[in-house]
């Protein structure tokens, strides 16, 4: 499988990239910092991706570059079977409320620009005759909740977009995989108290790779979060007003 990967240097993206490399997939790494990309390319190379893993600079804050970036990745790999986006910005709700500029950035990067990136990926994958588009949304988008008002809104928008993309292009051979991680222990969540059913990045990666192979449209990871979110979605407004989550 030839994969263009935005976000393989950190967290769940790193774990997923490694899993792909270890089974011999070819990756092209996309990201902001070339030196960091090259370190990850070396790591993936030793783990099985082979001696040369191409890197292409891609900044989620520069949507005008997305078409070129994905085309460059396709050229570097000599084809394209899948595009993965795990990148995004996270900040706690109180921080976002104190810093409107940061709030605007989170909304723009996690929703508008991620959607624009997926649009560019979709165009190229459709031109290739199909493929997998795997984007990391979040369980934060499943219900309006106090600790993730803005971040959750961006992810809710992303989830809806991906859902509709699947509806429209499934017949054209585009497999859209929406990943909704629950609490996963990464450097992003370090310092927070992990709730029960907290996952490890490696476990998420295994689940996501299986979903990409099979074309499973929606992945909750760890799986227990499917049930947890079903319950939270079913809670009446009067309860949601009172509870802290």
């Amino acid at each position: 499988m030839k994969v263009a990967f935005l976000g393989a240097t950190k967290g769940m993206g790193r774990a997923l990239g490694r899993l792909m490399a270890e089974r011999g997939d070819e990756l092209c790494l996309l990201g902001r910092n070339l030196a960091d990309l090259e370190r990850s390319a070396a790591d993936l190379g030793v783990r099985g991706a082979g001696p040369t893993t191409p890197c292409v600079i891609c900044d989620l804050e520069q949507p005008e570059t997305f078409d070129d970036v994905i085309r460059a990745a396709r050229e570097a790999l000599g084809g394209l079977d899948a595009v993965v986006v795990t990148a995004g910005v996270f900040a706690p709700q109180d921080e976002l409320e104190q810093d409107p500029e940061l709030a605007e950035r989170v909304l723009r990067v996690d929703f508008t620009n991620t959607v624009m990136f997926c649009e560019a990926a979709k165009r190229l994958l459709l031109a290739e005759g199909g493929g997998a588009l795997c984007a990391f949304s979040s369980v934060a988008g499943e219900r309006g909740r106090k600790p993730v008002i803005l971040y959750g809104a961006a992810k809710a928008g992303l989830t809806r977009y991906l859902e509709a993309l699947d509806h429209k292009h499934h017949a054209d051979g585009l497999r859209v995989i929406t990943v909704k991680p629950g609490f996963v222990k990464t450097s992003m969540t370090a310092g927070l108290d992990p709730p029960p059913f907290a996952g490890e990045p490696e476990g998420v990666a295994r689940q996501v790779l299986r979903a990409i192979d099979r074309g499973t449209p929606v992945v909750y990871s760890p799986s227990a979060w499917r049930l947890i979110m079903a319950i939270i979605r079913a809670l009446p407004r009067s309860v949601m007003r009172r509870v802290g989550f």
Partner: protein, 442 residues
């Protein structure tokens, strides 16, 4: 970035301190403000715990990328947070193993450097530090630099076995070694007393790359030091199973055992049964490297067996010059005080260390797991006084009870040299740990 909250950090023996862990993939960036690096927290005592005055520690475990590996020469370089477990999973199937490995794979490369760990092949191959070719470090003045036996050799020798007190280790470079298969040909043999044990280890050292022994430390009198000696070598492909070893079921202790579970009687029973298990005088066979090198890794969180108060491991080395009866004298201190140890390991060291403060030196090492009770401090004091008389020293990676005066007396001029290196590289003592406050007076 938000200031992470203070949380309870603990060593493997569950000795704990309040600290603030800096976490991230980019060690070079986040190492600027922390006063100590910490990996997987497998040092038993307070080596990886921050001092009260400076609670910021760097958690290196997210910095785990491999940067280069040359299959032709074995030359390997990775970020300091890479775990030995991950490394083994990746490279053992390709026929490579670290030249030196400790008894657990839940350690990071940075930790292996800081403690200058040794393994069952110390008598032949020395410590991990003997195989390190270069380190990338952030030192106290803020510089990021490369050190090696040739470049900044004083910093290099101070960092190997320096318990993280000379700077943050960011990257580690060393040589991996080719192995014929992931299997070990193991022989085990029943030993009747401590003198026979030392003879047996000495004999085995000439023929076997890996040797160690388990001692029933409740046996006293003429049985004192009875146990089982285990020796091993890599199995050739022709004698090894074709399939790679499977990891199988790996249980985990999910709660703390109450402290009464491990009492004199249960420990005696365990030790008796373990000794009787070796009912033949000698046995041999093929085992996986995993079960030979990391027997305790099979049970996750086994430290919970010791309950909430945790445990300490007392590990000392007694120099050859102290004579063969020195091990007996140390064990006598233990049995005289009724200090029941669940697990006691004996191993001979054959090589001196490169690191200024590294633990191993030619002689015999004893490691005793001791549940923390009210009298543990007194027991450790008594053991230290005996070890001091024998001219021996203790292993910092295991320690949480040793007194400063004992430590200073054991280390003598080595400590002066270590202090001189710190004066050179970190005169303000930016780098410190709970252990360095306790033992070095930082």
């Amino acid at each position: 970035m938000v200031e992470p909250p203070l949380s309870t950090l603990s060593g493997w023996g569950r000795h704990s301190a309040q600290g603030r862990e800096r976490v991230g993939e980019d060690l070079e960036q986040i190492s600027q403000s922390a006063h100590l690096s910490r990996g997987l927290g497998r040092s038993y005592g307070d080596s990886s715990l921050p001092s009260e005055a400076q609670p910021d520690v760097l958690n290196t475990t997210y910095a785990d990328r491999i940067l280069s590996f040359d299959e032709a020469t074995g030359a390997f370089r990775a970020e300091a947070g890479l775990s030995l477990r991950d490394l083994n999973r990746l490279l053992m199937p390709r026929g490579f193993f670290t030249p030196v490995s400790p008894g657990t794979s839940f350690v990071t490369l940075g930790g292996m450097v800081a403690a200058d760990i040794h393994g069952k092949n110390q008598h032949k191959d020395g410590n991990f530090g003997d195989h390190v070719t270069a380190l990338k470090m952030r030192v106290a003045d803020g510089r990021v630099l490369e050190c090696s036996p040739e470049r900044h050799p004083d910093l290099f020798r101070g960092t190997i076995g320096g318990m993280g007190l000379t700077g943050h280790v960011l990257e580690v470079e060393f040589g991996m070694r080719r192995i014929p298969s992931p299997w070990i040909w193991q022989e085990s043999r029943r030993i009747h007393d401590i003198d026979e044990f030392q003879d047996a280890l000495e004999d085995a050292a000439t023929n076997w790359p890996y040797t160690m022994g388990w001692i029933d430390c409740l046996a006293s009198g003429k049985n004192m030091g009875r146990g089982i000696m285990m020796t091993g070598r890599w199995a050739e492909p022709s004698e090894a199973p074709i399939n790679p070893p499977s990891s199988g079921f790996q249980p985990s202790l999910r709660f703390d055992w109450p402290s009464w579970v491990l009492n004199g009687l249960t420990i005696r029973l365990f030790n008796e049964l373990y000794y009787r298990k070796q009912w033949r005088r000698e046995s041999s066979g093929i085992v996986s490297n995993q079960s030979f090198t990391y027997p305790l890794d099979a049970i996750r969180s086994w430290n919970r067996m010791y309950g909430r108060r945790g445990f300490t491991q007392y590990q000392c080395v007694l120099p050859r010059e102290a004579g063969r009866s020195s091990a007996r004298r140390v064990l006598e201190v233990l049995t005289a005080r009724g200090g029941a140890s669940f697990l006691c390991v004996i191993k001979d060291f054959g090589r001196d260390s490169l690191g200024v403060l590294s633990f191993p030196r030619p002689g015999i090492t004893l490691a005793l797991d001791i549940a923390v009770r009210d009298d543990t401090q007194a027991l450790v004091d008594a053991l230290n006084e005996q070890v001091l008389k024998e001219g021996g020293r203790i292993y910092l990676a295991k320690d949480s009870f040793t007194r400063r005066e004992h430590f200073e007396a054991m280390e003598g001029s080595r400590l002066d040299e270590f202090r001189a290196i710190r004066d050179q590289w970190d005169p303000e003592r930016r780098f410190r740990s709970a252990q360095s406050v306790r033992l070095l007076g930082d």
